[in-house]
Symmetry: C2
Subunit: 172 residues, 2 copies
């Protein structure tokens, strides 16, 4: 069994911005570059991944490049001490997420879909409150287009490698 996930990497500019916080506050900083998760980690046999990858490819062909607006710094507290760039939920994002979820049929989502780019996690409650206070004031306001998504897999040390890349070439 291997552990896979589906993500969209924002532009270098937005990744660099997220990393200015992640390097200090995100325990997963070195495991993967900044990303928007479209399908949370799921397990699959290596033999299944060809089929899964084909399904993702057909989904990507039906969806247009994503218009992304990272609009503010938010937090999942008290559910978890995760601080993130909130990405405005759009029909585009919801539809892509839903297609991946339903057509891949690889485990129900653990959470309601709140599009985000994590910038801090595994903080103590005091750290969370301090840092969230600061970052919320600084905020974020970045708009861009993401024209591709990636299937990634996890190594034993927790880091993620890209398996394949899918261009979003649809009209919707």
């Amino acid at each position: 069994m291997m552990k896979y996930g589906i993500v969209a990497f924002p532009s270098k500019r937005l990744q660099d911005l997220a990393n200015t916080y992640r390097k200090r506050y995100d325990s997963h900083y070195s495991k993967i570059t900044p990303h928007l998760t479209l399908k949370e980690a799921f397990e699959a046999e290596e033999t299944e991944i060809g089929t899964i990858s084909q399904k993702i490819a057909s989904i990507a062909e039906k969806h247009a490049p994503l218009n992304i607006h990272a609009s503010k710094v938010s937090s999942f507290f008290p559910t978890t001490n995760v601080i993130y760039f909130k990405v405005e939920p759009t029909d585009q994002l919801k539809n892509l997420r839903q297609d991946l979820q339903e057509q891949l049929n690889i485990g129900k989502p653990k959470h309601v879909f709140i599009p985000h780019i994590t910038i801090a996690q595994d903080l103590t409650e005091t750290e969370h409150d301090d840092i969230y206070g600061q970052l919320r004031m600084i905020g974020v306001n970045e708009q861009e287009v993401i024209d591709r998504i990636h299937l990634v897999y996890q190594l034993e040390d927790g880091s993620w490698t890209t398996y394949d890349t899918y261009r979003l070439t649809g009209a919707e």
Copy 2:
């Protein structure tokens, strides 16, 4: 300007093996997962990358999946204190490398092409000698097929994100 590179990621199994050493001995451990470099870092404008990516796609279509044999632990000492899994040079690897080099026309190679997966770097000379002695005894002997290559770009913090993935679908 952005900094790009072209790499092949070996199987999870071989990446996990490389990481058992890299986590202790490789200063770039957290910046990219274990890989075989096909084209060293080069600079390009973001506007050029579409064209470069198309060229890589046509090259990948002409080359077959790579038969890889990581055959022993070796070192670039005294040129650099880099210890690596030596990957047996094959015509397949040389031809792919040469096509990328010539057709992309993005800077001459800095070194003769010695296919390898780095497992240790930025060691002092004493560390190098100690660790090389140990790892050379343990050795490595892994054979596998790599059926895709990746164009990656570097963030400001030195970490690498995949831009695109190209399947090797040729007959050679």
